[in-house]
């Protein structure tokens, strides 16, 4: 089965990103495919490479980056939600004349259309969050 995943909450405060990650791993191990993971609302905070959690804790952002690299998974951060919350890639840095970018490896910033398209293309859209 081809799954799409949407993560609607930020890391650590909320379980959504952890649950989505474990779901994705289990789905892949079960022979299923992940069409895309879309990060919306505060979920965009899962895509900053500037997070530095204590070394004896899980690294939520890094875990997504590694999963994307290992399984070639499309991690998409919503541009409108990212702009509000300060998640920035090189193109957004230039467009809004910011002094830095912070997008983590394996993530890309794109539009809400990517969420709708994922809903159309995938067999099931799994949403994680309140």
């Amino acid at each position: 089965m081809k799954f799409a995943i949407v993560v609607n909450e930020g890391p650590y405060t909320h379980q959504a990103s952890d649950s989505a990650y474990h779901f994705a791993r289990a789905a892949l191990e079960g022979g299923h495919a992940i069409y895309r993971v879309f990060f919306y609302h505060d979920g965009v905070h899962n895509g900053t490479r500037l997070a530095s959690p204590p070394q004896d804790e899980r690294d939520v952002v890094n875990r997504w980056s590694k999963l994307a690299a290992e399984h070639d998974i499309d991690l998409v951060v919503c541009v409108a939600a990212a702009q509000r919350r300060g998640i920035v890639d090189a193109a957004e840095k230039k467009r809004h004349a910011k002094d830095a970018d912070n997008i983590a490896p394996g993530f890309r910033i794109s539009g809400l259309g990517q969420l709708i398209e994922a809903g159309i293309r995938a067999d099931r859209l799994m949403a994680f969050g309140d």
């Binding site: 409108a80 709708i116 159309i120 293309r121 949403a127």
Partner: protein
């Protein structure tokens, strides 16, 4: 909007329902939920919205957010009829529990292109069992 919609693959029409459960101005879920509905219009899917629990407050007339320092994004609900949204379902029990009636809701309309562009009301108030049946028949559900 900096969004660029990609075309839906031909032939794939799914039933999308956006379910709004929260009051409008206490967080960004409602506003960002509406943004999904507006962007989704470009994909030629069968789209409806449902308002349940405190979500029914999103459609209340006469909202004034000035004192809270917030943009009143709910003005954009009036545009939904132009965005291929044919039906907005409001759960009757949620309305009644909050002391609201149909008269408290924005008079949202759409033009029915299959009926000589007659103006028709977008909002339908339905009971929770009927709404549950509708939810059961959707392909994609997103909660905001």
């Amino acid at each position: 909007m900096t969004d660029e919609a990609t075309a839906a693959p031909p032939g794939a029409v799914k039933k999308f329902m956006y379910i709004n459960r929260r009051a409008p101005h206490g967080g960004n879920y409602a506003q960002e939920g509406l943004e999904v509905a507006l962007i989704g219009a470009a994909f030629d899917q069968e789209v409806s919205l449902a308002f349940i629990d405190d979500g029914v407050f999103q459609l209340k007339t006469g909202q004034d957010t000035a004192a809270a320092g917030l943009k009143n994004f709910t003005a954009a609900f009036a545009a939904l009829g132009d965005y291929e949204v044919k039906r907005i379902y409001v759960e009757a029990e949620s309305l009644a529990r909050r002391g609201l009636t149909a008269d408290d809701l924005m008079p949202l309309m759409y033009e029915d292109e299959d009926d000589d562009y007659a103006e028709k009301p977008l909002i339908e108030i339905i009971g929770k069992d009927a709404l549950a049946d509708l939810i059961e028949r959707q392909d994609v559900l997103l909660n905001f």
